[in-house]
């Protein structure tokens, strides 16, 4: 059934594009059906899973590679599955209104379903490699969704950044997963998390690589910058991918591997520090922006940091806090993004400075937004308050237990971040709905008020979020305990209540709210302080520098390697061969390995011929006139012929002579008309290089002959041909028999080469006649620009 769910989404993704859903007004309701169906099915599974009976499906894939199509629905998987499918249904409904009349709506739905399938697969996968496959699936679909408005440069850049950061770190993570799987001996997640793995020899390396992938995916410092850039995506994608689901994939992986990997100081400090920094950084940065989606994006970054930080701990409070945090965040941030989209749709701007008195123009939007935003700020009795309480409780607990200054420092950090949360929530609500003047900007006008259908999805989610704290006692055993148990690796019982009495945690919350209100009032000086930070502190700035630097490096390297002349490239090839020879010579035993008959002296005709060949070769090089060069190479050919004559190769001599004559005639015929080109002499350095390379290659040839021409180390097969060409092939001329019979196959190839050469020569000679159609014109000026 798990696989069926994924298949259902895959089929829906393929089917919906050609159906062109933008033509139908009810498309959103239809599109919400598959995820809604999955949600309902998941709800029916809650009881069984909560009773500790995970649903397992396993199919064979590629056992040699450790790949197995195994899905496992345990508490954590079900919990995430509910969020993904549930919010997915809401987003699917919302999309139809957001992208109404957009001809590319079908394309967006395709991506949405594909993403949903990848995301569900990711949390259901019980095989590390399968998990990674779905992980990359979410990266690629997210890339395409961010680049949905592809004409827009910002969308292109945001998409590229998101892909590169998450995709590249994903590859690092893959290495970590493979290391882990190989060390454990199985890629099965349930087997890996069955025991702590901190004593494996590759533990540190694997952990660092996995953390890299998770942190980048979940927008942790220093990778956090891709997430605000990804806000160029259509708002449904932002609501879904970049707040509720995909960015939680990193959190999911950390939570999933928590039982196996968390038992080390490295884990604790890495998560605590990175999470803590991100928590504060995101919260503070959110104060700086005017764009609704940017504010929400930084708030998301901050919230993700809090979750990562919580996963550092091993306490029951921490597990509960993580689960509550994830759910609360999904239930308020999703609607907030959707509402930002509604406002954007209605007023065609997202810049809060443009808003003036929207509360009266869009009352329903204002109410829903306020409900969700209060949850974000952590006001009691909203769901966000519960999340903040559990978070603070964890930190208090830890600080009290260790008694260290750092522990209290983190409490302070969380409080500081909470203050920022309150401040920007108030800022957002005030500017958008309450304030009457648009602070000097052109006031936004409501062009078309949102229909109720448009508001259904955020309304539903907000209602669930708002009611949740009041019914938490009824569902906590079923919804919250199983995932906390999975993270802990042992049974965890969740008890949540809105009211604990006047505990230190509650007092802190009150202080935070009060301080937040103060910060809201003092927002302008804080903002100008934030705006005065130097640009190099910005992640995007550094990323762009890195990106450009990479291209500069690539261009420089490639120019060094590939930018040379033909001569320099040929020099490299030949130079490598010579180096090879020198290496081989270093292994040579000169006394024994060169088996040359020094006694047999050459006769004078051969000596004369050799001298002539050498002289002619040098003349070819030295002569300035082309004709002389051609003639002297002819002379070299004649000396070759003579060698063949002297050393009993009449066939070779004949062929060589024929070919030599042909070549010389061809060269003279073709080139006698070509005017000589006068050129400046070669630079000294090039000339010297040419000389050195030539001499080295000459030495190569010389040594090759000496090494290969001695008596063979094993008897030659050649006597077979001499002996048997008459009896077996009935030919007296042994060379000819070899050519046409024993090795006739070579000759077949040889003839083919000649035929192709003729064909090619003919084609080239005829090419000039085709100028009419393959015309080489000069490109006009306009095109050069």
């Amino acid at each position: 059934m798990l696989l069926t769910c994924l298949a259902l989404l895959a089929i829906a993704s393929v089917a919906i594009w050609p159906l062109r859903p933008h033509r139908y007004s009810f498309a959103g309701w239809l599109a919400a059906l598959p995820p809604a169906f999955i949600t309902l099915w998941l709800i029916t599974q809650i009881n069984g899973v909560a009773a500790g009976q995970p649903l397992v499906e396993t199919y064979a894939w590629a056992a040699d590679l450790g790949l197995e199509l195994s899905l496992r629905l345990d508490g954590l998987a079900l919990f995430f599955g509910l969020i993904i499918a549930g919010i997915g249904a809401a987003v699917a409904l919302y999309t139809a209104y957001y992208l109404e009349d957009d001809a590319r709506q079908g394309y967006f739905y395709t991506l949405l379903y594909l993403f949903m399938a990848s995301m569900l697969g990711l949390v259901w996968a019980d095989n590390l490699l399968l998990l990674f496959i779905f992980w990359e699936g979410t990266s690629f679909t997210s890339y395409l969704m961010v680049g949905y408005y592809y004409e827009d440069d910002a969308a292109q850049e945001g998409a590229r950044r998101a892909l590169l950061v998450t995709g590249m770190s994903g590859l690092a993570m893959l290495a970590g997963l493979v290391l882990l799987g190989q060390a454990v001996g199985s890629y099965s997640v349930s087997q890996i998390i069955a025991a702590p793995r901190a004593d494996l020899p590759i533990y540190e390396a694997a952990l660092i690589l996995i953390l890299l992938g998770s942190f980048a995916k979940s927008a942790q410092f220093p990778f956090h910058f891709w997430l605000p850039g990804a806000m160029a995506a259509p708002t449904p994608a932002s609501a879904y991918l970049h707040s509720a689901t995909m960015v939680k994939a990193g959190i999911y992986l950390l939570a999933r591997l928590h039982p196996a990997l968390s038992d080390s100081a490295l884990w604790f400090w890495a998560l605590l520090l990175v999470g803590g920094i991100t928590f504060l950084l995101g919260a503070v940065s959110a104060l700086r922006y005017y764009d609704l989606k940017q504010i929400l994006a930084y708030a998301t970054v901050s919230q993700l940091g809090a979750l990562v930080m919580l996963l550092a701990f091993h306490t029951t409070e921490a597990y509960i806090a993580v689960v509550v945090g994830i759910l609360a965040h999904a239930l308020y941030k999703g609607p907030l993004f959707m509402l930002a989209g509604v406002v954007d749709h209605a007023t065609e701007t997202r810049d809060v400075r443009h808003f003036a008195g929207l509360g009266r123009m869009l009352p329903a939007v204002a109410v829903i937004t306020t409900l969700a935003a209060f949850s974000m700020a952590g006001f009691p009795p909203f769901f966000g308050f519960l999340a903040k309480e559990t978070l603070l409780e964890t930190l208090f607990h830890h600080a009290a237990e260790t008694g260290s200054l750092l522990g209290w420092g983190f409490v302070g950090l969380a409080a500081l971040a909470g203050i920022c949360f309150v401040a920007y929530t108030l800022y957002l609500l005030y500017e958008a709905f309450v304030s009457r003047e648009s602070s000097g900007f052109e006031p936004a006008v409501v062009h078309h008020a949102p229909s109720w259908g448009f508001l259904t999805a955020p309304l539903l989610l907000t209602l669930i979020g708002t009611l949740f704290p009041f019914v938490v006692g009824l569902v906590e055993k079923l919804v919250l305990s199983p995932p906390a148990t999975a993270i802990a690796g042992s049974a965890v019982d969740v008890h949540l209540a809105l009211w604990h009495g006047f505990t230190p945690v509650f007092m802190t919350s009150l202080v935070v709210i009060g301080a937040g209100i103060l910060l809201f009032l003092a927002r302008n000086p804080v903002r100008s302080l934030l705006e005065s930070t130097p640009p190099w502190l910005n992640g995007v700035y550094q990323f762009n520098r890195l990106y450009k630097g990479m291209f500069a490096l690539a261009t420089w390297t490639t120019r060094q390697i590939q930018g040379g002349t033909l001569a320099s490239q040929a020099s490299v090839v030949l130079g490598v061969a010579v180096l090879m020879l020198l290496y081989a010579l270093s292994q040579l035993h000169w006394a024994t390995d060169l088996r040359i008959d020094w006694g047999n002296l050459p006769h004078w005709p051969e000596l004369t011929t050799a001298t002539l060949a050498i002289i002619a070769a040098f003349v070819t090089v030295r002569t300035e006139t082309r004709l002389n060069a051609i003639i002297s190479i002819g002379v070299v050919g004649v000396t070759m012929t003579l060698f063949f004559v002297f050393y009993a190769a009449p066939d070779l001599a004949l062929t060589q002579l024929l070919i030599e004559v042909l070549t010389v005639v061809l060269l003279i015929l073709v080139f006698h008309k070509v005017p000589p080109v006068v050129r400046p002499p070669l630079p000294q350095s090039v000339w010297i290089r040419n000389l050195v390379v030539s001499c080295a290659v000459g030495f190569l040839g010389f040594m090759l002959v000496l090494i290969s021409a001695g008596a063979p180390y094993a008897p030659s097969i050649s006597p077979f041909f001499s002996l048997n060409s008459v009896p077996l092939a009935h030919g007296g001329n042994i060379v000819n028999v070899i050519l046409v019979d024993f090795r006739g196959f070579d000759t077949l190839g040889e003839i083919t080469v000649l035929a192709i050469a003729a064909l090619g020569g003919y084609a080239l000679l005829r090419a000039s006649r085709l100028r009419v159609t393959l015309h080489r014109g000069r490109p006009d000026e306009e095109e050069q620009g």
């Binding site: 590939q562 090494i707 095109e783």
Partner: protein
């Protein structure tokens, strides 16, 4: 199951005879000639593919098929031999050719009439021959056949860029050929034979220096054909110059012959050097991947990027060869299997990508990423866009395409061997490949459309669309199949790898003899 060894001649003889036939019965530069040649080529390519599949089925059950040409026993005649690797490559070559044919019909300009199809068949013959050769000199001859036909195909049309690129291509390849020929000479001079199985038997008899020299010369010659660092100059100088059809054809076939030759010689002739030079091979592989991908980032036209990507990808296969140099037999076999698996993936995807890249260039008649004539094709050519996306990100290793599983297998092998550096390099290169593919995609398909689609673009007509896009889609479907249904493909790769690493089996199958008798008595009747 038994199979007549004579089938082995078919992949060589069929293309050759058809090419000769189509040259003999048609007249130059006539439109009807092109049509007739096209039909003949279709028949030949179909037959070739069928034979290749037959051989594949036969060899993947662990068999080798040996044909002694002319009936002369090894090592005296010429041996033609097919094992799993050979058959896999023959099949892929056949597939590539089969995909290329409709694509050529759909996109070629009047170069179609300059004997394009016969030349394509000659190239096919050369490639097939090189895969089948069991004799060093015969391998040289088929290398020359495929080189010569590639020279001609490269310069077909005779445009300035083609001529300039062609001259580099010719010269650098001829230099490599000279080294290869010298190596063949050394082999015969030192060991008295040219048959590869026989050489494998005799190689320990030569002194170390001679072995090193022979291994080194062959390494250089084949590395040059395979476009490995630092011998790949010919490839980026020339691959972007001919018609996109030719580029795609070359990209799928040529470098793989060099890779095959490296796989074969190092496992068969120099198993000791495979171990001893493991770090050298892995270094070469790493540098090839890196310089290739950096070139792809530096290059500014679509096909230049893709040509550099070929180099980068070839590095991965050499990485597989390097990993096969592990001293542990199981790990070595796994490394080799990963290399072969990568080869399978690469031939399918690279060709598809070069085809779709070429089709994209032909749409606006520009491949330049700087002039921004490309751009905004996503809205205008959605089908092309989907195909391009899948192809590009398959190359970058996106699951669930074959790119992911093949990269995964190499990564697993490297990590298992403890070769962490090459594993890291391969991941880094994968990431950079992602960058360069995203760049191509965004330049070509995102952004604003600034140019009209070129009036004679292949995708402007319905038939053109079908002819051009169907073969690419088919190749990508295959890639997805390999990715989603990887178990059998990897198992075949493993079978092939075990066969390749099993030298004794190869030698026994060829059965070269040292005995030389005078046959005057019985045969001369």
């Amino acid at each position: 199951m038994t199979l007549s060894p004579n089938w082995l001649a078919a992949p060589i003889v069929i293309p050759m005879l058809t090419a000769a036939l189509s040259l003999a019965f048609t007249r130059w530069n006539r439109r009807t000639a092109a049509k007739r040649q096209r039909n003949l080529a279709a028949i030949a390519i179909g037959l070739n593919l069928l034979v290749a599949l037959l051989l594949l089925v036969y060899t993947l059950s662990g068999n080798r098929l040996v044909l002694q040409m002319g009936g002369w026993a090894a090592p005296f005649g010429i041996t033609v031999i097919a094992d799993g690797l050979t058959a896999i490559l023959l099949t892929l070559t056949g597939l590539v050719a089969a995909a290329m044919l409709p694509f050529a019909v759909g996109t070629l300009d009047q170069r179609e009439r300059m004997s394009f199809y016969p030349l394509m068949l000659f190239l096919l013959m050369g490639v097939n021959g090189a895969y089948l050769a069991g004799d060093l000199f015969n391998l040289y001859v088929f290398f020359e056949v495929l080189l010569m036909s590639s020279f001609v195909l490269l310069t077909l049309g005779g445009q300035a860029g083609q001529i300039n690129g062609g001259i580099r291509y010719v010269v650098l390849n001829l230099v490599a050929s000279v080294l290869f020929l010298a190596a063949a000479g050394l082999a015969y001079g030192a060991l008295g034979t040219l048959n590869m199985a026989h050489l494998a038997l005799r190689i320990p008899q030569a002194p170390v220096a001679v072995q090193t020299l022979l291994a080194g010369l062959l390494l250089i010659a084949f590395s040059s054909k395979a476009a490995l660092f630092p011998l790949f100059f010919w490839l980026p100088s020339s691959y972007h110059t001919p018609h996109p059809v030719v580029t795609a054809f070359f990209g799928g076939l040529l470098t793989k012959v060099g890779i095959y030759a490296l796989f074969r010689t190092f496992t068969l002739l120099f198993p000791l050097y495979l171990v001893e030079w493991q770090s050298l091979l892995l270094t070469i592989a790493g540098l090839t991947m890196l310089t290739g991908v950096l070139g792809a980032l530096a290059a500014n036209t679509m096909r230049r990027v893709l040509s550099f990507q070929i180099i980068s990808q070839v590095g991965y296969m050499v990485m597989g060869l390097g990993l096969a140099g592990s001293s542990d037999a199981t790990l070595a076999s796994f490394g080799m299997a990963a290399g072969i698996f990568y080869l399978i993936h690469h031939m399918v995807v690279e060709v598809a990508l070069l085809m779709v890249g070429g089709a994209t260039e032909l749409e606006v008649m520009s491949g330049s990423l700087l002039q921004r004539r490309l751009g905004g094709l996503m809205g205008r050519r959605p089908a092309l866009a989907v195909i391009f996306f899948v192809a590009a990100f398959a190359l970058a290793g996106m699951p669930p395409t074959s790119g992911f599983v093949s990269k995964l297998s190499l990564l697993q092998s490297a990590l298992q061997n403890g070769n962490y550096v090459i594993a890291g390099v391969s991941l880094l290169v994968g990431a950079l490949t992602l960058v360069s593919m995203a760049r191509l995609w965004q330049h070509g398909f995102w952004g604003k459309a600034t140019e009209p689609i070129y009036p004679t673009a292949p995708l402007s007509s319905v038939s053109g669309r079908w002819l051009t896009l169907t073969p690419i889609a088919a190749l990508l479907t295959l890639s997805l199949t390999i990715g989603l249904y990887s178990a059998p493909f990897f198992r075949w790769s493993s079978t092939a790898a075990q066969q390749v690493l099993d030298r004794e089996g190869y030698i026994q199958a060829v059965a070269p003899t040292d005995e030389i008798h005078f046959m005057g008595g019985e045969a001369h009747d």
